[in-house]
Structure formats: C-alpha cells, structure tokens
C-alpha cells in the first residue's frame, strides 16, 4: 500500500456566482501520475487552481500528505510541496530568467533556512540550465523575451526550484508546435522516471495516457470517468464517448 499524497473529496468551487466544480474527487498516491482530461471549460484549470489554493473551495475537502489543507492559502501550499505550472505558463515578463528561477524557490528560506536555501537555489539553477541549455545561455534576458517553448521550459524549471513533491501541470503543450510539445513530454517522462508525482491536465491527449498511471475525465465540473491509463488507451470508444466532438475533431 503506497502513501496517500493528494486526496480531493467532493470539492465544489467557482467564481463569483458561477459554480464550476460540482463535487469532484481526485486521489493520488506518492510516486503516481494522473491525467485530468476534459473539453474546453470543463473545469480542469479550476480544479488545479483549487488544489494549489488560488481558487477557494466552497465545499468538500483537500488533503495532502494526510493533512487537511482545504483552508491553507496558496502561498503556504508551495512550501508543503505542491507546485503548479499554470495554464499559459505565467512567466514573469519583467523578471529575468534567473530571477524567475530564484523566485520559484521563494518558499525555501522559510522551510529550510537561509543558508541551505541559498545552496539549493544555486543547485536548482544549475540543474535548470543543464536541463535547458538555451535558458542558461542568456540568464539575464527578461522573461518576456522568450518564445513559447522557452517559457514553458522556464515555467517547469521555476516550479521545480521548490523541489515539489507534487507537480501540477496545466496543459503544458498549449500553444506549442507538436515538436516542442514532444520535447515537453520528454522532460515530463524524465521527471516521471525520477519518481515525480504529477497531475497533468490535457484537453484530449493520447500522449498523456502514455505515461500516466491513471486518467480521469471531467465534464462540466463533474468527474464522469476514471480508469487505468492503459485501459483507456486501449478502449478508444470509451474515451471518445466522453469527449464527443473534441475527440472527433482531433481524429480527423
């Protein structure tokens, strides 16, 4: 029996008067990866933002590592080990590449002390630059000067700076060419092989099913399906039944 890492129970969340999530469950064990699939507007990003603490949950509970964190603010969750690579990457354009990385480790000082944090920041930056030499070539360029692919590399690296136990990836290939998308997946696969726990959001990607353990499908704020990834990959009919039009378009 593996340790429970994340447990989302009957979560309800939304914006203003609109309710987006109507009681969603999500369970993740340590070392596991799960894909959250669903069409445009299904509530996938909202779910990620609720787990990360930006969107407050109105009902239900979120626990992490056995502790309830439903009311824990976002700025404290990253210190617990939850890091989100948000949709659209959200790179700080007014900060340099290096500053973007450093700020990703902002929670460390509090968690492990100033000296240890400084060491870990240096190591983290070095690791990021080894993984993505293109970033290391121009550490003082501003984030806004980067291409979409480079921004995604930076966003992943920034999230990794805090050595997260749980990495939340919201549509990492959005707006990228298929080639760059494949590169992003290569990196995610490498992280998986190091045992990184992960939730990955995709609209309808086979690619994700290749490397996650399980996948679930969200439809207008409800989880309509959850299964082993292999099962879903084998049963195209099941998947397309849930995706409907999106999947049909993709297959053309």
């Amino acid at each position: 029996m593996t340790e429970e890492l994340l447990n989302v129970e009957a979560i309800e969340a939304g914006y203003g008067d609109t309710r987006v999530l109507h009681g969603v469950d999500l369970h993740l064990s340590e070392g596991e990866a799960i894909a959250v699939l669903g069409a445009n507007g299904a509530g996938k990003s909202t779910l990620m933002m609720t787990i990360a603490g930006i969107v407050p949950s109105r009902a239900g509970r979120v626990s992490y590592g056995g502790e309830e964190i439903t009311a824990t603010p976002a700025e404290e969750r990253v210190g617990l080990g939850i890091a989100l690579v948000p949709e659209g990457r959200q790179i700080f354009g007014s900060l340099t590449i290096e500053e973007n990385l450093k700020i990703g480790a902002a929670c460390l000082k509090h968690r492990i002390g100033a000296t240890a944090a400084r060491k870990q920041v240096d190591e983290g930056i070095e690791r990021a630059f080894t993984r993505f030499p293109v970033l290391g070539k121009r550490p003082n360029d501003s984030g806004s000067a980067l291409s979409g692919g480079q921004q995604q590399m930076l966003a992943i690296s920034r999230a990794l700076m805090s050595s997260p136990k749980l990495l939340l990836m919201d549509e990492p290939c959005m707006g990228l060419s298929p080639k760059l998308g494949n590169e992003v997946y290569d990196i995610l696969k490498a992280l998986r092989s190091e045992g990184q726990s992960m939730v990955i959001v995709e609209e309808s990607s086979r690619r994700a099913l290749d490397f996650v353990d399980r996948a679930c499908v969200l439809k207008v704020g409800r989880k309509v399906l959850e299964a082993e990834a292999a099962e879903l990959a084998d049963d195209e009919n099941l998947l397309s039944a849930y995706f409907g039009i999106d999947q049909a378009v993709e297959q053309q």
Binding site: A74, E75, V78, P86, Q90, L95, K102, I103, G104, A106
Partner: protein, 294 residues
C-alpha cells in the same frame, strides 16, 4: 540665457518633488490598486514630526532621519490596519477607505498640533541662495534635485536589484502566480507601504522648506499635485509618474514666466484644462504604458 537656465533649475526642482510624490503613489497603485487620497497628510505628519523634534532640541539631521522613519512606520501601520483588509476589493472601496484614513489622520493632527500655521526652523543650507555669476540659485533647489536623484536611484536599485524588489515587480505583474511561488501578499504590501511612506517622509522635509507654514490641512496641495502628475504619466507606471511630475513642474514654471499677472490666479484651472486635454488625446497618459513599478 541666464534666465532660461534659472527657469530650468526651478522647473527641475519643483518637478522633483512632484515626481517623488507620484512615484510613491503609483507604486501603491501598481501593487494594490490603491488610490490614496491620504498621501499628502503623511507629508504633513512628517513635517510636524520634524518640527517637534527640532523644537525639542535635536540636531536637524537627526530630526530629519527620525521623521522619515516615523512617516515610514506610520504609513506601514495605516497600511496594515486600514488598507490591508480591503485589498482585493474594487479600487473604489480602497479609494473611499483612503478618504476615511485622511479624515482620521488629519483630525489627529488638528488635535495634536492645532490649526495655527507652524514654521519649521530649517538650517541655513535650506534658505541660502547661491550666486553663480548672474545666476541666483536657492540652495534648497539644489538639495531638492539632488535628494530626488538619490531617492529615484535607491528606488530603482531596490526594485531591480534586490530579491524583495523582484517580489514586488512579480506581484505587480502576476499577483496569483506570485502567491503560487510562495510569496505572501502581505510581505509585498508592507514593503510597498514602507517605500511609499519613506518617500512621503523625504518629500515632507523638502516641501515645507519651500512652502513655509504647516497646517493640518496642508496636505491638499501635495496630494493634488501628485495626482495630476500621475494622471499625466499614466496610473501605475513608474517612468510615467516621474515624467508626469517633471512635466507638471515644467508646466508650472512655464506658466509663471509667460502668463500675465492678471491670469496667474487661474493657473490651477489652466493646469486642469491641460490635464483634461491630454487625457482626451492620450487616455493612458503621456508615457502611455501599462502597469510597471520599475
């Protein structure tokens, strides 16, 4: 030629104080959407602090430092107690809160210092005039320009070269992402109140050296000037705020030099007319850029 140089120095000096005020205000706006009508009253409290401390016999330099520190702390306390609970609310809520703060802090000044105008005893350096050929330059103008240059330099170093500064820039750009990396909004907000308060403290010392008497209602003019500068420069944009401050200084000097005596009384009306014209032509100010604290 001498006259022109004289006017340029005047304009730079007047513009410096406006630019600093606009800088302090626009920083708070870029982070918290705070439009603070209680900004000028901070200058007044700083000046009263300076008055009290010099009258108590402290050396002028020490009194200046203490009053700037005092205004910084006062601003942080006001920020923590009055503004923080409303951060994230619509800007109008914060604006109204700032009026309430202004009332309270102003009445506190009336109670503490009375309504009678008071004069700070500035050292000669603030009142002497430098004669360079035919040029007559009040030392205060040089002090003002020099101080503004140092404050702006320190501001940019803090914002662009320190970890705290990168947090502030990050929060101005993407507040949610800034929280997601673990930065407490409160830390950033208090940093901003501190910087903005320190600037108000410094400007207070310069302002009343020029304008003379302090009353609890002396806040109106600096507040108005700062807002005009900000509107000219584009709300939330540092470079714009600085530019707006100097533009307003230049405009005022230009008018005082060129307008006939009989029209001079309408100067504020003319300034506002120009502001409105600029806003119609360039709604985002003369700098016309988006929110950017550095």
């Amino acid at each position: 030629m001498t006259a022109l140089l004289q006017h340029i120095i005047d304009a730079l000096s007047v513009g410096s104080t406006y630019a600093l005020l606009a800088l302090g205000l626009t920083l708070a706006f870029s982070i918290m959407n705070l439009i603070n009508f209680g900004y000028g009253i901070l200058l007044v409290w700083g000046a009263y602090g300076l008055l009290g401390l010099t009258e108590a016999g402290l050396p002028f330099g020490v009194a200046v430092i203490l009053s700037v520190v005092g205004v910084t702390l006062l601003t942080m306390i006001i920020g923590r107690v009055a503004f923080r609970p409303f951060i994230g609310a619509p800007p109008i809520t914060l604006l109204i809160t700032s009026f309430a703060v202004l009332q309270i802090v102003q009445y506190a000044a009336i109670v503490a210092w009375g309504e009678k105008p008071r004069i700070i005893n500035y050292p000669p350096a603030f009142t002497d005039v430098l004669h360079i050929g035919a040029l007559r330059v009040p030392l205060l103008e040089i002090i003002t320009i020099g101080t503004a240059a140092v404050v702006v330099l320190v501001y940019f170093v803090i914002l662009n070269r320190t970890p705290l500064g990168s947090k502030v820039r990050a929060a101005a750009e993407l507040p949610d992402m800034t929280r997601l990396v673990g930065i407490r909004p409160g830390t950033v907000q208090m940093t901003v109140f501190a910087i903005s308060g320190a600037i108000a403290g410094v400007v207070g010392v310069l302002w009343f050296a020029k304008s003379g008497a302090i009353t609890p209602r002396s806040d109106l003019e600096p507040t108005l000037k700062a807002f005009i500068a900000i509107v000219l420069g584009g709300l939330g944009n540092t470079r714009g705020a600085l530019l707006g401050g100097f533009a307003l200084g230049a405009l005022e000097v230009l008018m005082s030099v060129t307008l006939p005596e009989s029209v001079l009384g309408y100067e504020p009306a003319i300034v506002f007319a120009i502001v409105i014209a600029i806003l119609i032509l360039r709604p985002s100010g003369i700098a016309g850029a988006k929110v950017n604290p550095a």
